[in-house]
Subunit: 195 residues, 2 copies
């Protein structure tokens, strides 16, 4: 049963978006193609009409995850809001809808160079857009904002990853999120970390 071009393109998009979400939730090795394609509403054989391999799908899925995050960032009025959302309990509970750097960074570190190249582009864009917003908000005038953006990115991604690696009911999980959010907001004010 041949399908219309529009329908086929829509299917391709749905496969990639489903992969983008499920890979962030379960890792690249945590979900098989059959289950993934079923979640996209198709059978597994159809994958190869759109992507050459699981690797190629992973590359596309990671690209889309970073793109999605990029659009998502634009929805926040200021950085304080953005940071709060990044470390919110909703974000911690739903990796499939949040930052791919925190969810898949470790997996990409063990992956092939193509995946790392996509990751580098996405991460670089995150850092540059953060630097631009630091400048736009007049944070720490005269300081090295690239340096600050890199440090904030590492802190926030690290905090999100660590908060998720601790049992939900362990106070340490919330503590990491809250303390690092406070720390990041203090970094915006440019002062030390006084009590």
């Amino acid at each position: 049963m041949r399908i219309s071009k529009e329908q086929a393109e829509e299917n391709r998009t749905r496969i990639a978006d489903t992969a983008s979400r499920l890979y962030r939730e379960r890792g690249f090795e945590g979900i098989g193609l059959a289950e993934l394609m079923k979640a996209a509403g198709l059978t597994h054989g159809a994958l190869y009409n759109h992507f050459g391999s699981k690797e190629a799908l992973a590359v596309e899925a990671l690209t889309r995850a970073f793109d999605e995050m990029s659009k998502e960032r634009a929805r926040f009025g200021d950085l304080a809001e953005l940071f709060a959302s990044y470390l919110s309990s909703g974000s911690r509970a739903h990796p499939g809808l949040s930052c791919p750097a925190a969810a898949l960074g470790a997996d990409v570190g063990r992956g092939d160079d193509q995946l790392k190249t996509v990751f580098a582009s996405g991460l670089e864009e995150m850092i540059e857009s953060l630097e631009a917003r630091l400048r736009a908000e007049g944070v720490q005038p005269g300081a090295d904002l690239r340096h600050l953006a890199v440090n904030l990115t590492a802190k926030l991604a690290g905090a999100l990853m660590l908060a998720r690696a601790v049992p939900r009911d362990n106070p340490l999980s919330r503590e990491i999120a809250r303390q690092c959010l406070e720390g990041a907001l203090a970094d915006l004010r440019g002062g030390g970390t006084a009590p």
Copy 2:
């Protein structure tokens, strides 16, 4: 061929240590038991004389990885040295010998509660020992050192994970490591992030 008790105990230790290294290098799902046991110098069947399942081995391996890191930390004269080692190119290149939080945090986040509980213990111990050293070195007197320890842990683990997720030859990898090391050292001095 029965083996002496000492030999059996040595084998058990070797299996756990090999798993601790290989899981950090490849992730819990990135290596099979056959290859793992071969690396430990045994055949796969022998695993079940020591551990009930792959899950149980993962729990033991993660525990040992945190213990190893704990002993490792004691070898550094001060925190500046410790941080520099944590983000060194050697550490970035050899996840099997470095921090399990950075290497396996994302995997544990998708794992079962037993794994998360072990992770929480190991992470809590990291944070407490860091806080104790901050206090011992007289860093930011009067400040909330628990808060600082949590923020430093997230920044350093995040930086190590992100630096590894970028291609080795991409300058961004070194930049993340260098900028976050500088940032962490600046945090020790307690000042802002002036240029």
